[in-house]
């Protein structure tokens, strides 16, 4: 069937901010969907609140709404745009839930909007665990025994026959939020209780445990003619019990025979047909009992998922793109295979390589949370690697993680060797934690057999055998070193090294095992001809020729895709998502690649993050799916011999390669690496500021605690203490008094041993400005100035920010900020992007830091101003001038654009939600409107905070904030809010003549504030920290607020902004929506 001609306009829903469980894979899928739908001639309307996405670039849709993904707002968009259909399957669970809400509210029916790809009934069947199970049993499939509980009594009754452990999963939550495994009756009650609270329908599934079973996923596609294909099979190395997003996974599946695999394939087809996914992709999970082979269906996602992004990258089969085309009526056999271009898409990819995915965690950001992995996803990103063997792919994935590991051999500082580990050994193997794999390897190194490790960990012996082969090779290499390496590599050395490289050993591994510097190891193997070649991901195991240059390295004999002869430029990507380094940098890399192609170069992308748009082979002219290590990047450079390399777009990851690459004779395009160093090195930067006559808060450095104490006394409290060379404010603390100082210093010194600690005076009550600018090597143009809404002291990534600055900023100060930015940029010779952070106190301007590279705010500023900063920056790196790219003045943003951060606190039990200098947000949303208040309301709503229009506000602030609280409280009172406050705060409000009653703090008596919050008597909380004595009190308030969706403002400036937003909403008749393509009215 050809595509449908009865549809004209199609609404696509994005997935909103990056959160744990829903990351940039949905930018990848949404971007693909928007692109093909437009190419097919449809008018595309997009709603996504996340400004850092490529899909919200105005060129990907006809009308792009960067608006909150919630019912009322999207209804407005539908009324305004009158789409014929809605594609809900490419925006994750957020889009799917929203589509169902629209359907249930009758809006789709009333406005004649058809759901494409999945019906509401099929979505419900896919999501409602009980309905799903019933349907599966009816279709003859086997499932785990379970029951649905709405009370603790129900839950106990259901669990009784299973015995422990028992799995508890709340209904309708993202990424399994709130679920858990109970090993005893006590755990069980706690998990059931929490699960019921988190479930929007207050319901949990109590289920027989399949802990330790083998876990598999199949990615299925179905077209309207009922042709089904399995795009990819994925096997989890971590057995059942760990969320698949937190598991190490491998594709294709490794341990099932064809008989077992085909039975699973049949089941998958039955599932997709039973659930009724008419067209598109689904992800179906299975568990298999390792002893009996009993196979059960675990769950299915009737939409494009994280796994389908992985499957697309693993196989070269673009699931989201094909799903969008199937949704508009095409059949699989009418679509070409995207890679071969000659064979049809109605086939199942065959892999002659192995793909390994390893999740990336950020537990160090949430020290109070347990790092034990379970059914609730906790990873913030992932890496993928391809190799011709499991070992090769695994070794490459390990060194892609950007966590300090350099390959198979663990860094002793990060993973203590076996004899010195504090915990019992079996526990380290049995309990899944992010570093379990290294303990598995250590156990094998210490002489454990794969059988031993299997018995404890339940990891399939096939994988353990491979790890044991790696350990055996380590011994061989050590023996080689013991025997002594000759002046020239001997044939047997070369043969061994070749085998080691084919097992995924990095040069860094070889260096440690052979006791030679990495450079020497590399030279010796290269002399002996042990060099990687690059193979194509071609979907067909080389059966057919393929022209799409999607490449990975391996130590085989033949290169598939020789350089084309065109002049090439390499863009280094940003690696795995983690807090502080996320989607924003991928956005910049994608733009850089586009700019290169437009300028007539062949753009080459190197990256290892499967979730991203940058690793879509459509983004660059050639894609190398490779770790971002010096060794791996150098291999690409040696093959491509590029004109230059761009390192300023991918955040910290590529920056650290700038010097080694430059030393290896590679041209770094854009701002020279020396300038980057000047900005990072405190001494040199201090000298530069002095030379330019710019002020900075007094600062010093210390190499030990006593020096730190001495310097602190000299500078004066409060202080900002942090390790040098950090990203996202790791281990950064504000210190108010000397008694805390020693501990903080010791922690900072420990976080990065050997590095000095930086001590800055902390400018209390200052506010911060963030400036993004572009330079061409001689001059600078300001691209945007953002004001942080919270006072200084909260990491810029965690702060609300508004463009343009809205208040409290004297004109002169803005002028000084502009002048300082220009001076700094010119002095550093910035070519491309730069970001400067300023603090302003009492009208005085202080420079906090300069980053002569792309910053996290580039996409936000680009959306707010309509100027594609990253693309322009890439052109500047190619040698164009600001004048020739047409950027001669500061762009003017229309209305207000506000960025709001989104936090993962719900995923980390017991974590304090109080913000500080260490960044902990995973994503961001943008609110854009004519007035500040309306924009703030949208930003908050986009971030999931629904500001109340009426009710009771609880106020409790520290003494310094009390005067400034009065106008905020007065405004709330005018708006009709009842005021209640802690004793001290109430006293000051009463003194100002405001009606207020007193609510006990937690330790003062009952009912206290937490009781009243639980009782639904408080709708808004303003609570600025009072100090250590009330810490636990406040922690309880903040956790309760988080769990009950009560807006909780921890700074007065945020409270003032929120009140302005409430005022604005109270007077408006529903949300206003504006596409990016139109100026604000």
């Amino acid at each position: 069937m050809p595509k449908r001609s009865d549809l004209k306009t199609i609404l696509v829903l994005g997935s909103g901010p990056i959160v744990i469980g829903q990351a940039c894979e949905f930018d990848y899928s949404g971007t693909q969907a928007c692109r093909v739908l437009r190419r097919e001639g449809y008018r595309v309307v997009l709603v996504n609140s996340n400004p850092a996405t490529i899909m919200t670039d105005p060129e990907f849709a006809d009308a792009t709404y960067v608006e909150p993904l919630e019912l009322e707002t999207v209804s407005r968009v539908i009324e305004r745009e009158r789409p014929d259909a809605l594609l809900p399957t490419v925006g994750g669970q957020t889009a799917l839930n929203l589509a169902i809400a629209l359907e249930e509210a009758g809006i789709l029916k009333r406005l004649g909007v058809e759901l494409l790809g999945a019906s509401a009934a099929s979505v419900r069947l896919g999501e409602d665990r009980l309905l799903f199970k019933e349907a599966m049993v009816k279709a003859g499939l086997s499932v785990l025994r379970s029951g649905l509980a709405r009370s603790l009594e129900d839950a106990r009754r259901i669990a009784q026959p299973f015995g422990f452990p028992v799995i508890v999963r709340p209904s309708f939550t993202l990424g399994g939020t709130g679920g858990g495994i109970a090993f005893n009756a006590e755990d069980f009650e706690g998990i059931v209780k929490r699960g019921r609270e988190l479930s929007p329908v207050h319901e949990v599934l109590v289920e027989e445990s399949a802990l330790g079973w083998k876990e598999f996923e199949l990615e299925v596609m179905r077209d309207a003619a009922d042709t089904c294909v399995i795009v990819c099979s994925i096997e989890n190395v971590d057995p059942m019990g760990v969320h698949t997003g937190d598991s190490i996974t491998v594709a294709p599946q490794m341990t099932l025979s064809d008989v077992e695999y085909q039975a699973m394939r049949d089941d998958a087809k039955t599932v997709i047909r039973t659930v009724g996914v008419a067209t598109g992709g689904s992800n179906i999970q299975f568990a298999v009992h390792p002893g009996t082979g009993r196979r059960v269906v675990i769950e299915m996602n009737p939409r494009v998922s994280r796994s389908s992004a992985l499957a697309s990258k693993a196989t070269g089969f673009p699931i989201a793109k094909i799903a969008a085309l199937l949704a508009i009526g095409y059949r699989l056999d009418e679509l070409p295979n995207d890679i071969t271009k000659k064979t049809p898409a109605s086939f199942e990819p065959s892999l002659d390589y192995v793909v390994v995915k390893i999740p990336r965690f950020n537990f160090e950001k949430f020290p109070s949370a347990t790092s034990v992995l379970g059914v609730q996803m906790k990873s913030v990103g992932e890496v993928m690697a391809l190799g011709r063997t499991f070992h090769e792919a695994f070794g490459k994935a390990l060194r892609s993680l950007e966590n300090g590991q350099t390959g198979w051999l663990p860094q002793p500082a990060l993973v203590p060797a076996w004899p010195s580990v504090p915990m019992p050994r079996a526990e380290l193997l049995r309990v899944p934690r992010p570093d379990r794999i290294f303990h598995v390897m250590n156990a094998l190194r210490a002489g454990a057999t794969p059988e031993d490790v299997h018995d404890i960990s339940a990891i399939d012996r096939w994988f353990l055998d491979r790890f044991a082969e790696v350990v055996e090779m380590e011994r061989t290499l050590r023996d080689l070193a013991k025997a002594g390496l000759g002046a020239e590599p001997s044939p047997s050395e070369t043969a061994t090294v070749r085998r080691a490289k084919r097992l995924g050993f990095s040069d860094a591994d070889l260096s440690r095992l052979l006791n030679e510097p990495e450079e020497v190891v590399r030279q010796r193997r290269q002399e002996a001809g042990v060099d990687p070649v690059f193979s194509q991901v071609d979907t067909c195991a080389a059966e057919f020729p393929s022209s799409t240059p999607y490449l990975y390295s391996c130590f085989e004999t033949e290169d598939d895709a020789p350089p084309s002869g065109k002049e090439t430029i390499i863009v280094l990507g940003s690696g795995p998502n983690r807090i502080g380094q996320g989607l924003e940098f991928d956005y910049c890399c994608v733009h850089a690649a586009k700019a290169l192609s437009e300028a007539g170069y062949e753009s080459i992308m190197v990256n290892c993050n499967p979730e991203t748009v940058s690793t879509d082979y459509d983004t660059s002219d050639r894609l190398y799916f490779e770790p971002l290590t010096f060794e791996d990047v150098l291999a690409v450079v040696r093959k491509e011999k590029p004109h230059g390399v761009l390192v300023q777009f991918g955040g910290q990851t590529p920056l650290k390669l700038a010097h080694p690459l430059q030393r290896a004779g590679v041209r770094i395009l854009g701002t020279p690496p020396e300038a980057i160093d000047t900005a990072e090195d405190r001494e040199r930067f201090g000298a530069l500021l002095r030379k330019l006559d710019l002020a900075a808060p007094p600062w010093s450095t210390a190499r030990d605690v006593s020096e730190g104490v001495k310097e602190a006394r000299r500078i004066g409290f409060p202080l900002l203490v942090r390790p040098s060379y950090v990203l996202g404010g790791r281990a950064m603390r504000i210190v108010y008094e000397e008694s805390e100082l020693e501990k903080v210093l010791a922690e900072a010194l420990e976080a990065f041993p050997g590095r000095p600690v930086l001590i800055d005076q902390f400018l209390e009550d200052a506010f911060e400005l963030d400036v993004d600018a572009l330079g061409d090597g001689t001059s600078i143009v300001i691209a945007g100035i953002m004001q942080h809404i919270e006072e200084a002291g909260i990491h810029s990534g965690d702060s609300y920010a508004v463009i343009p600055p809205y208040r409290k900023v004297p004109r002169e100060a803005l002028g000084a900020v502009r002048a300082a930015t220009k001076k700094l940029g010119e002095a550093l010779g910035v070519t491309g992007l730069m970001n400067v952070q300023f603090a302003i106190r009492d009208g005085n301007v202080f420079v906090l830091e300069v980053n002569p590279r792309a910053s996290r705010t580039v996409p936000f500023v680009s959306k707010a101003t309509g100027v594609p900063l990253a693309r322009l920056a890439a052109r500047l790196c190619l040698g164009e001038s600001l004048e020739s790219i047409g950027l001669t003045g500061e762009p003017v943003a229309s209305g207000f654009s506000i960025k709001a951060p989104v936090f993962p606190f719900r995923k980390f039990e017991g974590t304090d939600t109080l913000l500080g200098p260490e960044m902990r947000s995973t994503g961001e949303v943008m609110g854009r409107d004519r007035s500040f208040g309306a924009a703030f309301q949208k930003a908050a709503l986009g971030a999931g905070i629904r500001l109340p229009l009426t009710g009771t506000a609880f106020l409790s602030v520290h003494d310094g904030d009390k005067p400034a609280l009065v106008p905020v409280a007065r405004e709330l009172s005018h708006l009709g809010f009842a005021l209640t406050a802690s004793l001290g705060t109430a006293r000051s409000l009463k003194a100002a003549g405001l009606p207020v009653d007193v609510t006990f703090k937690v330790n003062e008596g009952r009912p206290n504030v937490v009781d009243r919050m639980i009782n639904g008597e408080i709708q808004l909380v303003v609570n600025t920290p009072l100090g250590r004595d009330s810490f636990f009190d406040e922690l309880a308030i903040r956790r309760t607020a988080l769990e009950r969706d009560i807006p909780c403002l921890t700074t007065l400036s945020a409270a003032a902004a929120a009140v302005e937003a409430i005022k604005e909403s109270a007077s408006a008749s529903g949300p206003s929506v504006h596409p990016l393509q139109e100026a604000l009215p």
Binding site: Q262, G291, L332
Partner: protein, 365 residues
Amino acid sequence: MSHQPAVLMLEDGRVFPGFAHGAPGTAFGEVVFNTAMAGYQETLTDPSYRGQIVVMTASHVGNYGLNDEDGESDRIQVAAFCARHFPARFSNQRGRRTIHAALHAAGIPGIDGIDTRALVRHLRSLGAMRGVVTTELLSEDGKEELRGRILEQPEMTGAALALAAGTSRPYDFGPSGAPRIAAIDYGIKKNIVRRLSAHGLSGTVFPAAVSADQLKAGGFSGYFLSNGPGDPAALPQCVAVIQELLETGKPIFGICLGHQLLGLALGARTFKLKFGHRGVNHPVRDLVTGTVAITSQNHGFAVDPATLPPGARMTHLNLNDETCEGFRLDGRPVFAVQYHPESAPGPHDSDALFAEFAGLVAAGS
């Protein structure tokens, strides 16, 4: 991991060095590649691979071992077996022995550690060719001699391998009381017999050299033509038997070699494909219903659909290279497919063909 050297050499002299597995020795054959990612036990034991050196494109082959249930015949049929990696041990609850042990017991050499992708790219561009796997003749000096010996081997075109590939004595199958058919065994896979039984058919499996008279005398309600190795054009006696069976008007169903022989019996021509179809991911469109099935394939020869006589119609099309994957006779219960609806290995998408055949047989009996 084996560290004993072995090589695979092609008739054009290209050599792929690797490591020895299975039995030591030297084996000649046509070198072909298979892109299935699992199902190696079925492939090893599929009589259609007789005389061939099979290269698996999957990275690791042998992961789940070999078991007692999944063999497609009672022995390993391939001349030699090659992959990027044969793990030394397997992990699966049904596994009984390793690839190494199975090859060793069967006296068949295997080789791993070779760059299978380079080998496939070579075969893809130059076509399937003869070759050797050896653990003995490894010296540089002996290279030309070894190549000479490859060139002495018979080519696949013209090879009448099917006559010896199947059973030498007739045997019965299927539930008692079910409609009875005769299956001609050119190298029949066990799963074909199982699928025929599962769809309610019984009968007798006959050796490939069976005469038409013997078949017609058996009182069967239909005839099944099996898969098998070699060149169909080298089997005129089998074609003649089928021509006689066509005159009976009884239902006939052919698979793979059976499809080719039925085509020849109708006067069509067959030809050798450049490198064949071997894998489990080939899309085939049913030209009648328009639906697409993912199919299991293993064939080096194909029927030229342009040479089918009037009254015979192509029914199945390979969407990768648009070759003929099936045909039937208008108004008569006679049909055949080139691919393997019995799978083993591969998807079960096309099982309905057995049902159709069983229906036709039941209707006629």
